[in-house]
Structures are given as C-alpha cells and as structure tokens.
C-alpha cells in the first residue's frame, strides 16, 4: 500500500464534475458549428423553396452574386454600428439615418459638380467618387456632432444604457425629419434614366457594372478598415476600448478621443454604404430605416464589437435576402434578416465570433 507523499497530500483536491446531460446538450447547441449548421439549413430551405417555384440555378447564382454586393453595403453600415455598439455599449438606432444622410449628401454634391462623361460601362462619371469622398467625412462630422451634443452629455451623467438607446431613437427621427425637409419625400436617382446594361460573367451570372463597382469599393473600404484597426494607434485604441473601456483608460487611452474617432469612422462608412445603396436602387428618406434591421442582424450575428464578424454576418444576410426574392416579395427583406437574427439569438446570442458564455 503506497502512502501518499507530502506533496500529494498538500495538493488541493480538484473537483471534476461530469456535465449533466442538459448542460452538455446546451453546450452542443450553443457551439459555433451548430449556429453555422442552422444558418446552412435556412439557406437550404431558401434554395429548395426557389427550386420548387421553378427558379433556374443560373438565376439563383445571379441572385447570390447580387446578395454579396448587398452584403457589402450592409457590411459598410454595420461596421460603424458594431464599433459604436462595442465602444459605447448601446444600440445606435440613428445609424440608419446616417446611412440615408450619406446617400443624400452625395446627391447634393453631384448637383454642384460638373457632370463628366460616363465611364462606360459604369453609369457614372468621375464626379461620383469625388462627391462620395466629400460626403463621407461630412457624415462622420455629423455623427460626431450628435455625439457631442447628446451622447456625451448622457455619458457625463452616467446615464443608463436604455436612455442612450432612447436618445438615439430621438436622433433617428430628428435626422430623418431633416432629410425630409431638405429633400422631400419623393424618390431620387443619382443619374435618372441613364442606361446601365448587365454584363454576363462566367456561369451566366448577369450583373451590372455598377454592382461590380460597389463590390470593389466595399472591398477597398474593408481593407482600409482592416489596416486602420490593426496597424494604427487609434485603431488599436478603438479595439481596446471596445474590449474593455476601464482597462483601456487605465492604460492611458483617451477614451473620449477614441469615441470621437469611432463616430467619424462609423459615420463615414455609413455614408459610403448609403451612397452605394442609392446607386444600386434609388434614394428614399426611409432607405436607412429599411437597412437598419439587416445591419443590426449582421452586428449581432458577428458578435457585438467585432467588425470582421459584422462583415461576415452582412454577407450571409445579404445573400439570404437576395435569394429569398426568387420566390418572395422583395419588400420582406427585413423579415429574412429578422429570422436569421432570431436564430442567432436563440442558438448563440454572443454571435458567430463572440466568446462562448459571453
């Protein structure tokens, strides 16, 4: 019989408990793989439903390609949303209004700039990117100004999260009414009546050149966001503040400055998203509100505060939305996003890339 050595006796007894079946099942259901499986099931249902309605595979592929483009638009909006959500910890309901504002600012500058020849096969001339580049920082400044006037005051009062959310709802209606006053309730087009024929890509995918431009621009901006967040001081400070504001402050990060930069970046990207959405369809005062639900769904799906996750979520939602239009009324787009969001909330509320148990 071996007597225990002193070391063995001093070692604290580690209580290992085998997880109960319920816990094990829950851990299984809440895993990332299960969430991906659930999303895959949604896609399978969409594709099967489209097949039953006799939609050809080629059309589905085209729709998926448009979905990637829509995902880029939603993604640009939701990066700002998720950064603000991560840094300031409240859902910003006025983000949709920033998207709309960006689209209308570009519209306003286009009217000022001289119109050049269209850069065929694109439907717009050089003045369009110029107008976009002017509109982006302006919307960022608007977002910063709103923060200065409203949210900073609430931060100073140590207000509860829900008051921030409510103030953002008020700001959403405030900005939207300004848009209505300035541009009226009618639809607008950047280039009314200009033809933009579809190109045929391999696999018989038909997309317009503008849509390819939107996708390319979205990719470039994503790359810019990646470089900003990973390589610059302010980007690192932003991620640190989103992760743990107190710790960031202790380490000497000026959180007010980080917050201002977050609004600037978020507003500028929202403006880009709105302008591209306006280019792909038309300008309406309600367009941002319509995009708000898909943006929130992407944010939650990717894990709050995670810009790359938001982008992934946006692509999933964009494709699901476009594929669903094969057999459903396209106005139900927010409903598709909503269903995906509820699935995420049910299965894994911390999102695809969130830490488990968060």
């Amino acid at each position: 019989m071996a007597t225990p050595t002193p070391q063995e006796r001093e070692r604290p007894t580690v209580v290992t408990r085998t997880a109960r079946p319920g816990e094990r099942a829950r851990a299984l259901v809440q895993s990332r793989a299960f969430l991906l499986l659930a999303i895959a099931v949604v896609f399978a249902v969409l594709v099967v439903a489209a097949q039953l309605r006799g939609v050809s595979a080629e059309r589905l592929l085209s729709l998926a390609a448009w979905g990637v483009m829509l995902g880029g638009i939603i993604g640009l909006g939701s990066i700002g949303l998720t950064l603000v959500y991560g840094v300031l910890k409240f859902p910003n309901f006025s983000h949709g209004a920033l998207v709309t504002l960006g689209a209308y600012f570009t519209f306003a500058f286009l009217a000022w700039l001289p119109q050049g020849e269209p850069l065929t096969p694109l439907s717009f001339g050089w003045e369009f990117p110029v107008a976009l580049l002017v509109a982006m920082p302006l919307v960022g400044l608007v977002a910063m100004a709103v923060d200065r006037v409203v949210y900073r005051r609430l931060r100073r009062q140590n207000a509860h999260l829900v008051l921030f959310a409510m103030a953002s709802l008020a700001m959403a209606f405030f900005l939207r009414s300004l848009i209505y006053i300035a541009w009226g309730p009618d639809f607008h087009f950047y280039y009314p009546g200009r033809p933009n024929p579809a190109l045929t890509l391999p696999f018989n995918i038909r997309v317009r050149a503008d849509q390819l431009f939107i996708l390319a621009l979205a990719l470039v901006m994503m790359l810019g966001v990646y470089l900003l967040l990973e390589r610059t001081r302010i980007g690192k400070a932003m991620r640190a503040t989103a992760d743990n504001p107190e710790l960031a402050q202790v380490r000497g990060i000026n959180t007010e400055r980080v917050i201002a930069w977050t609004w600037l970046l978020g507003g500028a990207l929202a403006a880009a998203g709105g302008t591209m959405y306006g280019l792909s369809s038309q300008l309406r005062p309600e367009m941002g509100f319509w995009l708000l639900l898909p943006m929130f769904a992407a944010t939650i799906m990717g894990g709050i505060g995670n810009p790359y996750g938001a982008l992934a979520g946006a692509l999933i939602i964009g494709v699901a939305h476009q594929v669903s239009t094969a057999f459903m009324n396209p106005t139900y787009g927010p409903a598709v996003a909503f269903v995906l969001m509820v699935i995420v909330l049910l299965v894994r509320p911390q999102g695809l890339f969130g830490r488990s148990g968060g």
């Binding site: 409203v150 609430l154 829900v162 405030f174 939650i300 139900y332 909503f338 969001m341 909330l345």
Partner: protein, 396 residues
C-alpha cells in the same frame, strides 16, 4: 335644440368626471369635488361651445384616449419592468386588424372583388376587443420568449423589427386584410343610438333620451365608451402595479440579481409584464379601429404608433400610471397643436424656398424628436415622478 344640448351634456358627464378625477390630486375629497366639477364642465362645454369646436374637442379626446392607453401599456413594460419596446406599432396594428377582422361582415358578391379579407365574422364589438387583446398577447409571448432571457437592448432591436414586419404583412398580403388598400366598414359599437330607427333592445323612455342625436354626434357616444375603457384599464393596471406583483416587477428592474436570489422567477415575470403591456396596446388598437372605421397599414407608421407613444410616456413620467395617461393627452395636444403651427409657418417657409411649404409637416417631426431628446437629457423622470412607496399600508 335645447334637448340636443341636454343630451350632449348628459353624455359628456362621464368623460368630464373621469377627467376631473385624473387631474385632481389623490386626496380624500377628490371624488366629492370631481363629480360636481365634471357635471359643471359637461354642461358648460355642451352649452357654451359651438358645435364645430365641441366636435373637435371630442375627437381630440378620443384620439388622446387611444394614445393614453398605448402609453399606459408601455408603462407596464418600460416604466415598471424596464423593457425597451420600440415596436409599440406592432401590437397597436395587430389589435386593430384583429378586431376589424372579427367584427366586419365578410363581403359577398361584387364587393368581394374589391375587399379581400381572410375572414370576417361579424361578431360583436366586445368580442373583437377581447380577440385583439388575446392575439396581441400571443404575439408578445412569441417575441418575448426568445429575446427576454437575453440582454435588454436586444429586445429593442427585435421589437423594432417585429413592428416593421407586421406593417409589411398588412401592406402586402391582400388576402389577409385587403392590404395595401384600406379595410373599410368596421362597425361602431352602439351606433344604433344615433340612428333614427333606434336600438330595438332599448326601452322606449331610454330611446327618447337619444332621440335628438344625429349620426354626426356619434363620437360623443364613442367618447363615453373609450373613457370607460381607459378608466377600467387604468384601475386594473394601477391595482396590478401596486400589488406584490408590481413590486416584484420593480425589484427585477432595479436589482435583478437580488430579486433572483430571493426566488423570483426573473425571466418568467419579465415575459408576464411584456404580455400585460401588449394586451393594453392591443385593446388600444381595437378601440382605434372602431373609431376611425377605415384602417390600413400606413396608420401604423413607427412615428405615430411608436415614437409618439415613447414621447408621451417619457414626458408624463415612466413608472407612474397617472403620468402615462396625462402624458398621452399632453403630447397628443402638442402634436395636434403643431399642425396649426406648421400651417402658420408655411408663408414664412415660402420665402426661403419654393417647395419648402409642402414639407412643413416634417417640422412637426423635428419638434417632437427634439422634445424627446430634451426629456432624455434634462428630465428623464418626466413630469410626474415614480412613487417610491406604492403600498397604501406603508406610510413615509
């Protein structure tokens, strides 16, 4: 002519007394003062006001009552439990359309081509209201179960989504409730009182009382009905919120962890309060539908049906039922008043730009948005604060 004024005054007594009860402070002498005051007010309004202005006041009071109910329902959710429901419009719409579908007779023959609906049962008004409450509760339950066990802010996102989807359904689904065309001919309760042939179930002498009324005066009768609804629902909600159940809601709102440690089923209670609030909103929707007779999806825009209600509750005082009702009337007054304001500034706007006067209405939105932002920033507790002690057995 004199008998008409007398009948109107008699009808106005009920809402006038209730109004006096609402405004007067809760003292022992309240009832004794409110009744004579209300009677005097009713006679003064009926005799002194020209009939056009009286009709405006009555329609204002009816819409104010609808909003007061919405605000009361939101108070159970937000004021007492801290639920951020940004989808009031969903429950308002579902109540209105449910009651309409239950009470409208399904069209037959040639009319069926113009008005499509899933069913039209032609049931009585009260059955419609009860069905509205039930369906609204069901919707609230379905929303609450997946979302309420999570963070508070997810509820706000989910409800704003559900409101949008409900509106889209009533806009696109022709078979359900004739969307996007309006659903017409929702019956009005006790409408027979103002018709010349009268109600057959009413005794002769009572009918003689309503004899002078013409169909134009029907809103007076509806005001009595809706005022009674507001009073009954107010008393019920107030009773519930002052009961141990209401104190449990506030405990969960303020100190979730300690409420859970004391054995309160936090998630279940949250779902309960969300459903109770939705029931009140659903009833408000039903009462709205029966008042306006014709409804369509555009009535349930987020601005009118969600945003305005939030302004009302925040202004009146969240966590205070009297504040919720008072806030409903005040903000409805502000909203109606800004309509005149918008008309007044139109010539001024015409000087700035040609197409600006047509957009004068949007200045109303701007004002209300600024009002809410101002309340959130400077007086988040509202006009009437929440009472610290709600049990009458506990004295300060």
């Amino acid at each position: 002519m004199a008998t008409l004024a007398l009948t109107k005054a008699l009808l106005l007594i009920v809402p006038a007394v209730l109004l006096a009860l609402l405004v007067l402070p809760a003292r022992r002498w309240r009832l004794a003062v409110a009744v004579p005051l209300g009677v005097a007010l009713a006679f003064a309004a009926s005799l002194a006001l020209p009939s056009g202005i009286l009709a405006y006041v009555v329609s204002f009071a009816i819409m104010g009552s609808v909003y007061a109910l919405l605000s009361l329902g939101l108070n159970v959710q937000w004021g007492y439990t801290g639920h951020l429901n940004f989808g009031v419009a969903a429950f308002f719409a579902i109540g209105a359309f449910t009651s309409a579908l239950m009470t409208v007779e399904a069209p037959t023959g040639i009319a069926a081509q113009y008005t499509q609906m899933a069913f039209g049962l032609g049931l009585p008004f009260l059955v419609g209201v009860a069905a509205a409450a039930l369906v609204s509760a069901l919707l609230a339950f379905l929303v609450a179960v997946p979302v309420l066990r999570l963070r508070l802010d997810f509820l706000a996102i989910a409800t704003i989504g559900i409101a949008e989807i409900i509106r889209l359904i009533f806009q696109n689904e022709r078979w359900l409730a004739n969307g996007p065309q309006p659903l017409r001919g929702i019956p009005q309760p006790l409408h027979c009182l103002v018709r010349s042939q009268g109600c057959d179930w009413l005794p002769e002498w009572a009918m003689a009382l309503f004899e002078p009324l013409s169909p134009r005066d029907y809103p007076l009768i509806y005001l009595v009905i809706i005022a009674l609804f507001v009073a009954v629902l107010y008393l019920l909600v107030e009773r519930a919120c002052r009961s141990p159940w209401g104190r449990m809601l506030r405990a969960i709102r303020d100190e979730e962890a300690s409420a859970a440690m004391n054995g309160k089923p936090v998630t279940f209670v949250r779902i309960q309060s969300f459903v109770v609030g939705a029931v009140v909103m659903g009833i408000a929707g039903a009462l709205y539908a029966h008042y306006v007779v014709t409804i369509d999806y555009s009535h349930f825009h987020a601005l009118f049906a969600t945003f305005l209600v939030w302004v009302m509750l925040m202004l009146g005082g969240s966590g205070n039922n009297r504040g919720a009702v008072v806030g409903g009337f005040i903000v409805w007054g502000v909203w109606s008043g800004t309509a005149f304001l918008a008309n007044a500034i139109e010539p001024l706007l015409a000087l700035i730009a040609d197409d600006l006067p047509r957009r004068a209405a949007y200045f109303r939105w701007l004002l209300v948005a600024l009002l809410l932002a101002g309340i959130v920033l400077y007086r988040p507790q509202g006009l009437l604060r929440e009472e610290k002690r709600v049990s009458r057995y506990l004295r300060e």
